[in-house]
Amino acid sequence: MSTLIVIDQPPYGTWAGREALDMAFSLAAFDQSVSLLFMGAGVNWLRAAQQTNGIEQKSVEKNLSAAPIFGVEAMYADTLACAQYGLTPEGMVAGVTMSPNSAELMHQHTHTAFAG
């Protein structure tokens, strides 16, 4: 069994993405195969050097950097969504694989769960 957790919510303004990330970490903690796909406004999770002091929230960058350590197999970014949000590979955190065909990526996993 392999699960793809799809984060399609922005990193701030809603808690849904954070809770979806916890789901991914939990699967990994139970030795289940899990990967993350960021699409829609969710690609903003992947921006490097996020400054969150002004909104009194922890930056999601730290959480994301823990993903490989927890055993999350891959982090994918939907290519079209990155283009829509002006996100280039240079402006992204490390370890992200571009996903030009996210529908196909979902088919490759036995379970797909959306953030909300």
Binding site: E19, D22, S26, F30, Q32, G116
Partner: protein, 138 residues
């Protein structure tokens, strides 16, 4: 699905009652599934969905009481229902154990719902043939 027409579902509800239709839609799905011969392995409340397990919800008498409806459905069909502990504590849903641990003035988990970790959801994904998510949408 055609290979195995009878499914064993895990339902995940992430939308709160009275701010989303998620619990209502999930209950309609659950009732239809049971009456068609399918089984429900468990129901897991996550994110804002944990509000469904509040024993303090008090909607006006001419509105459906979704926490009670769900609690009765779970009891009648002997289906386990769990609310994620991290989601629940953030949102002020606590059982007597957590009340003691954090020295809170009250507890408010509606039986038969229990508070449990995300491992309960992970087990559901392994034990059931389908996992269906009910989000707030919008």
């Amino acid at each position: 699905m055609s290979d195995n027409p009878l499914q064993n579902f895990t339902l995940v509800i992430t939308g709160a009652p009275y701010s989303s239709q998620a619990p209502q839609t999930a209950l309609a799905f659950a009732r239809a599934a049971i009456s068609a011969g399918h089984t429900l392995d468990r129901v897991f409340l996550y994110g804002d969905g944990v509000h469904l397990a509040s024993s303090l919800s008090t909607p006006p008498s001419d509105e459906t009481h979704w926490p009670k409806e769900w609690a009765e459905f779970l009891e009648q069909n002997v289906i386990p229902g769990a609310a994620c502990i991290a989601s629940a504590l953030r949102r002020g849903l606590v059982n007597s154990e957590e009340q003691k641990r954090y020295q809170l003035p009250a507890n408010n988990i509606l039986a038969p719902f229990i508070i449990a970790g995300l491992g309960e959801w992970v087990e559901g994904t392994m034990a059931s043939s389908r996992v269906v998510y009910f989000h707030a949408g919008g």
